[in-house]
């Protein structure tokens, strides 16, 4: 597996890779009943100024006394007023996180992992395929691309969720819907009375939208089941495995390739990923992704 | 560890909402006197009391635990208190074998009208726990392991 894209985080606290930096939650946005986006800034002003990351990278977030969990940074490196991450309430750490209010202190280590290969994406048509909370890492890249609009060609987005209530980042979807340079399609698995948009699972709608594979790259993120059904659709549309990128989710604890649990074959998703091309995934020793 | 003169035990009371909890309420409103050492946790039935509740209370440092439910035959859910009885019995016996003093784990049947009995039970349980002293069961070992005189 290529490890060219990996470099260690420069922002270690006291030379100890496991120590978190203290960060303060500045705003909380309720995306859906179970998903919230947290805006935060580092308490240390100097760090806040110097901190840098790239789209696709993640951090380990501490809720002190409860534990740590990994989330991607869902804001764009081009918009550095604050940092954002988005979390669904599913377990011990995220339950505690959702109990926090504005002003609460959390811990942050990172940024970790590789990132979306911007050089590779430059000058290409970009097709974003997202499902549910999977829009979070894509969103970082989408804003990144929009803020450097002239470096990229056409942008298309197919995004879906189970119901209209489960759609995340509606404010972004609105903004992108108004942007004439973006072809944005939103769908739900099951509509309600007020829903006037498309209905159908993401892979099916993607097939209908049928983006051209010519000079294009598809970037896919969503629940595993969606990812597994989306790759074949893209292949059918003519995308090659090199033209498909995704970011994988695994149980991670250390975030730096030491603790062992996100191991697949000879890679650690936290260290060598989370961004992989389908080509790379197909070369994994194991299908346990 | 020397016991402070003004030490007061802390008890966790798991009370069934259909009987003992109401009994405690009545004891309060009818101004029955009982020690203020008990912290009351309302449960839907004494059958809801998992032995883990008892263990967790001891782990957290409560000096004693009281489980109280409806008299046999009076369970709102027919059999909850009978099941609780088996569980409490084996838990208490097993913990005693391990070295937990019997006074620390207590159970009673108190109906909604038995305010007096509730006050008596709490008084008795508090007195018993006072006799055996603070719960040092899960405290970190001080020095070498031989000094265990205040445990149990």
């Amino acid at each position: 597996m290529t490890t060219t894209n990996i470099r260690p985080s420069k922002f270690l606290a006291r030379d100890n890779v496991y120590l978190p930096h203290i960060a303060v939650i500045e705003n909380i946005i309720e995306e859906t009943p179970g998903i919230r986006t947290f805006h935060f800034n580092f308490k240390d002003r100097k760090l806040q100024k110097e901190f840098s990351f790239e789209s696709g990278q993640f951090g380990e977030y501490s809720i002190f006394g409860i534990g740590e969990a990994p989330f991607c940074i869902s804001s764009s490196p081009t918009r550095r007023h604050h940092l954002e991450f988005t979390a669904q309430r599913v377990g011990r750490v995220t339950n505690a996180l959702h109990r926090l209010g504005v002003g609460a202190e959390i811990g942050f280590r990172g940024p970790y992992g590789n990132s979306f290969p911007l050089d590779f994406l430059k000058g290409k048509n970009l097709v974003f395929v997202g499902g549910g909370i999977g829009l979070a890492p894509l969103r970082s890249l989408i804003w990144n691309v929009i803020d450097n609009r002239d470096k990229y060609k056409n942008i298309a987005l197919v995004y879906g969720a189970r119901t209209p209530n489960d759609l995340c980042f509606k404010y972004d979807l609105d903004a992108w819907g108004k942007d004439k340079t973006i072809k944005s399609v939103t769908t739900v698995d099951k509509g309600d009375k007020s829903w006037t948009g498309r209905v159908g699972v993401v892979p099916k709608i993607l097939e209908e939208v049928a983006p051209s594979p010519k000079n294009a790259v598809a970037i896919v993120c969503g629940p595993p089941i969606m990812i597994r059904f989306t790759f074949p659709v893209l292949e059918k549309l003519g995308f090659t495995p090199e033209q498909m990128l995704t970011t994988l989710e695994k149980r991670m604890k250390c975030g730096i390739g030491k603790c062992g649990r996100c191991n697949i074959g000879n890679i650690y998703v936290c260290r060598d990923g989370p961004v992989f091309s389908y080509q790379q995934i197909k070369s994994f020793v194991s299908s346990e992704y | 560890m020397k016991q402070k003169a003004d030490w007061e035990p802390k008890l966790a009371g798991f009370l069934c909402k259909w009987c003992s909890y109401a009994g405690a309420d009545l004891a309060g409103t009818s101004r029955k006197k009982y020690p203020a050492n008990i912290r009351i946790i309302k449960v839907p039935c004494s059958g809801r009391v998992d032995p883990l509740f008892i263990l967790k209370a001891l782990r957290l440092g409560f000096d004693g635990v009281l489980v109280s439910g409806c008299h046999p035959g009076d369970c709102h859910y027919q059999t909850g208190n009978y099941r609780a009885r088996r569980r409490v019995a084996i838990t208490k016996r097993f913990l005693e074998y391990l070295g937990v003093k019997p006074q620390r784990i207590q159970a009673s049947w108190v109906s909604a009208s038995e305010a007096g009995k509730f006050a008596d039970v709490v008084t008795e349980v508090t007195r018993g726990v006072k006799e055996v002293g603070p719960n040092q069961l899960f405290a970190e070992r001080q020095g070498d392991g031989a000094k265990t005189e205040k445990r149990g």
Partner: protein, 315 residues
């Protein structure tokens, strides 16, 4: 007995009466056996019965699909019955091959007697009530009671309670009081000393969960120690949490534990776990006249009650 087992097992597979045979085959180290779980009738030839058949094979019934022919000793058969009581396996899917057991040899006791590691012994042979340990060309003889597992010495029902085929004549219970000595000794101590004893023993625990995973009565899909909301037990090896784990495990297997002793044998750091399980076994026997795995139609201990019982526990 071994020959009969092999032919019965082969026949069961050949005639399609079972899909699986679960038994013992020789292990890869001296004086060991290992579970054989097979669909292949030719594997029947590998089955053995000897004084080293330690495992409680009932443990492998959970999650196996199809009809199973299972080899059991007395204690194991009761674990099977207990699983039937809990609707974990169906009696009609089982063909139980019962071994009238005369006790299993505890290699750590042998090592102590011989003053040598098990790997350095040439042979251990049992004849009736005597065992011969051969090492450095010399033979030493001991009464069998000195080398059997404690739980075997304590055994009340060495002949399987439930079986389809009994592979020999029923064997008498040993019920040797020696087996209870260490529990009696603990009971004699003051509460503080008892607690101190368990604190010390459980300090060694590394939370490998072998005691739980080797136990047929521990069949939960998800164990309470793995729960995070709420987190009942801290998920790291510290004596306080190790002890709460063991206490709760014992409460959970009360009325299911047959005193098969597997937890203690499996423990890599020699925690005397049977001094816990056997006590619980005796408590439920005394309070509720309940013995695990005696009757496949009985209701499990903690889902049953009598109107008048254990009244002394409530004020």
């Amino acid at each position: 007995m071994e020959q009969r087992l092999r032919s019965e097992a082969r026949a069961l597979l050949e005639q399609g009466k079972v899909d699986w045979i679960i038994g013992f085959e020789p292990g890869s180290l001296k004086f060991t056996t290992t579970p054989l779980i097979t669909k292949d009738k030719n594997d029947a030839e590998r089955l053995v019965i000897n004084p080293f058949i330690v495992n409680n094979l009932a443990n492998f019934l959970i999650g196996i699909k199809g009809r199973v022919g299972i080899v059991v000793k007395g204690c194991d058969s009761r674990s099977v019955v207990s699983l039937i009581q809990d609707n974990k396996v169906a009696r009609e899917n089982l063909v139980i091959l019962g071994i009238p057991c005369t006790g299993v040899i505890d290699l750590s006791k042998v090592e102590k007697l011989a003053g040598k590691d098990r790997g350095e012994l040439d042979d251990i042979t049992r004849e009736g009530e005597r065992v011969t340990i051969k090492t450095d060309g010399k033979k030493k003889e001991f009464p069998i009671t000195q080398v059997l597992f404690d739980h075997c010495l304590a055994c009340e029902f060495p002949t399987p309670k439930e079986y389809d085929i009994l592979l020999g004549e029923p064997s008498p219970p040993l019920a040797n009081p020696v087996a209870q000595e260490r529990i009696e000794k603990l009971r004699q101590l003051a509460p503080e000393q008892r607690w101190g004893f368990w604190e010390k023993e459980l300090s060694r625990c590394i939370r490998c969960y072998a005691c739980r995973n080797v136990c047929p009565a521990c069949f939960c899909q998800r164990c309470f120690v793995e729960e995070t909301e709420p987190q009942w037990v801290f998920p790291a090896p510290r004596w306080q949490d190790n002890l709460i784990f063991q206490i709760t495990r014992n409460i959970h297997v009360a009325g299911r534990c047959t005193d098969c002793g597997e937890c203690e044998r499996a423990c890599p750091v020699n925690i005397p776990l049977r001094s816990l399980t056997r006590e619980m076994y005796d408590i439920v026997g005394e309070l509720f006249q309940f013995k695990a795995g005696m009757d496949k139609d009985a209701t499990p201990l903690l889902t049953h009650y009598e109107e008048k019982e254990a009244e002394e526990f409530f004020r």
